[in-house]
């Protein structure tokens, strides 16, 4: 009997199917509508002082909506799409075929990651269009002199922000995949993943504490904590963009590299944990 080899084609098939399943879920549509509503409603609260605060407000509001709903989508969609396969026993039918469990996990991850890319892309485009529209209106009507140096909003950076957030959501998807690979219920996976999300946002505190600690075992423990959980504060470049500061290329590249390392590590951990799971 000929050997079955690891196949990116099978990963692609699982990923496409996962994406198709995800976009058909009501939850995705619901989140998209809510997030869009929040971004679009930002101009209801606009401030007319020289235009700049209004644009900053819209950007902040939009970034906040992307981060909040993207994080919720990353955790809930990953857990739901994973457990629907287990609970509906479709995983049994798939894994009874000549397919590696790693291909299944990578396919699921890529499917959800594609969903997150679509979500983040949509939100980023809508936010940019809204900012462009308001900026144009302000340039033409309110105070043309304030824009002598050109447009204030760096649209390229907004798209960089979108990419960075998508990578963060993909890390979160990887984390949820690790949790789901060993947990028995959807709810447990969702709750634990949200707790880890919180830890990742507060992880910088442990990093700071580690630098100041003198007792070696505690220092090591805190170091481990800060190494295991990614530092999500690194991805928080929205403030800089909203303040009109451009993002240096090196910083963007470093964040992307950092995210890719964690994505790979969490995917490998999920594969390792799922390899022995009894279905």
């Amino acid at each position: 009997m000929s050997k079955v080899v690891f196949s990116p084609a099978r990963i692609n098939i699982i990923a496409k199917n996962t994406f198709l399943e995800a976009v058909r879920q009501k939850f995705f549509g619901f989140l998209v509508i809510i997030a869009l509503g929040i971004i679009l409603s930002s101009q209801v609260f606009r401030d007319f002082n020289f235009g700049a605060p209004e644009l900053k407000f819209i950007a902040d509001f939009g970034f906040g909506a992307i981060v909040l709903f993207g994080s919720v989508l990353a955790i809930v969609a990953t857990a739901q799409l994973f457990f629907s396969e287990i609970e509906n026993k479709t995983a049994i039918t798939i894994l009874a075929k000549p397919i590696f469990r790693s291909e299944f996990i990578f396919g699921k991850f890529l499917g959800v990651s594609l969903l997150l890319l679509v979500f983040t892309g949509m939100m980023t485009v809508i936010l940019s269009v809204l900012l462009f529209w308001r900026e144009t209106a302000i340039m033409e009507g309110v105070d043309p002199e304030a824009f002598e140096a050109g447009r204030m909003v760096a649209y390229g950076d907004i798209f960089l922000y979108g990419i960075v957030q998508w990578l963060k959501f993909s890390i979160l998807c990887g984390i949820t995949m690790v949790v789901a690979s060993f947990s028995n219920t959807n709810l447990y996976s969702v709750i634990l993943s949200f707790v880890i999300l919180l830890i990742c946002h507060l992880q910088y505190l442990a990093r700071d504490a580690w630098a100041q600690m003198e007792f070696l075992p505690v220092q090591l423990a805190v170091f481990m904590l800060s190494a295991v959980f990614p530092n999500f504060q690194l991805f928080n470049i929205g403030d800089q963009i909203a303040l009109g500061e451009s993002i240096p290329f090196e910083l963007g590249a470093r964040i992307i590299g950092y995210a890719l390392i964690y994505i790979i590590v969490f995917n490998l951990l999920a594969v390792f944990s799922f390899r022995k799971r009894e279905i």
Binding site: V4, A9, I13, L20, N88, T90, T93, P98
Partner: protein, 312 residues
């Protein structure tokens, strides 16, 4: 010749979560399933049938013992290259059409791209779902789900087909159609493992059976050997008259045989139902195929009843 499935001293325990307590689902099971036969794996609920199937498919790791498919250990992904599996109460992606679903599994099994669409059409037609191929799976009836499940199990033309309760919840006509498909698979040279609680169906189509109870193998062998009454024969006679009885009994006695009973053969309810409700050509084909076999079986069962009456 390599067996289709070879199981040796298989034991499977499930931890119960309380200290070291474990539930033993399968205990010291050894089975050799030869190629090109219909093998019935029987047993009451919780007897370890599904666990055994999952171990065969590499979905569960055995606690002890070994299991191989065509000589390849079940733990290896390669062992599943030639296996088609229809799970119990199959649930498929509801948003895909029947065609898309079978195509999806065909691609997972790496059916050649140039042949994939033709193969998908072929198996869908073969299971009798041609008209519903482009309908969403979510709109399928239970019987149609079983048939599309069979199509996905066969799309890569496997040598071994494992069917876990393929007729659960299916009406007698659908059940007869599935039985007919299983027999056709055997004609194509495939090995079929059938788990079913419908013992009548198992009796009709299986060559060998194994009965599990509480995780242990309690009986295994050729079906014909296990169910036939070796010291009895039945003769079906056209236009028989009751007054022949004494003469026939005397004639038999002279040859050291004994007339046990004379009974009118009866059709089984299953057959009557199929004859009257038979919705498809396939079912009618199945009926004519089974007519002779059914007559023989009915005569034998009639005699059996007579024997019981006498002994009581």
């Amino acid at each position: 010749m390599t067996s289709a499935i070879s199981i040796e001293d298989l034991t499977k325990d499930f931890p119960l979560g309380f200290g070291h307590l474990k539930l033993r689902a399968v205990e010291d099971l050894s089975l050799e399933i030869a190629d090109n036969q219909v093998f019935g794996l029987l047993g009451p609920n919780g007897s370890g049938k599904s666990t055994t199937i999952k171990v065969i498919l590499g979905l569960l790791a055995p606690t002890r013992g070994t299991c191989g498919i065509f000589g390849t250990p079940s733990a290896e992904v390669s062992s599943r290259r030639d296996v088609g599996f229809l799970p119990e109460a199959p649930y498929f992606y509801r948003y895909l059409t029947g065609f898309e679903l079978v195509r999806f599994f065909g691609r997972i099994c790496q059916v050649e791209k140039s042949k994939l669409n033709d193969r998908v059409h072929e198996v869908i037609e073969w299971v009798g779902l041609k008209e519903a191929a482009h309908r969403r799976v979510g709109t399928y009836s239970k019987g149609m789900l079983q048939r599309i499940g069979l199509a996905q199990a066969l799309v890569h033309d496997p040598r071994l087909v494992i069917l876990d309760e393929p007729t659960a919840g299916v009406d007698p006509v659908g059940s007869a159609e599935i039985s007919s498909l299983i027999l056709k698979l055997k004609e194509q040279g495939k090995t079929i493992i059938l788990c079913s609680h419908l013992l009548g169906q198992v009796e009709d189509i299986c060559d060998r059976i194994a009965i599990l109870n509480r995780g242990k193998l309690i009986l295994e062998g050729e079906l014909r050997d296990l169910v036939s009454k070796k010291d009895l024969r039945s003769v079906v006679v056209q236009d028989y008259r009751e007054e022949y009885n004494d003469e026939l009994a005397g004639w038999l006695q002279a040859r050291e045989s004994r007339l046990v009973s004379v009974e009118q053969p009866q059709y089984s309810l299953d057959r009557v139902f199929l004859e009257h409700v038979g919705r498809s050509e396939l079912a009618r084909e199945k009926l004519s195929e089974r007519a002779e076999v059914a007559k023989q079986q009915d005569t034998a069962s009639g005699k059996d009843n007579e024997e019981k009456k006498k002994s009581s």
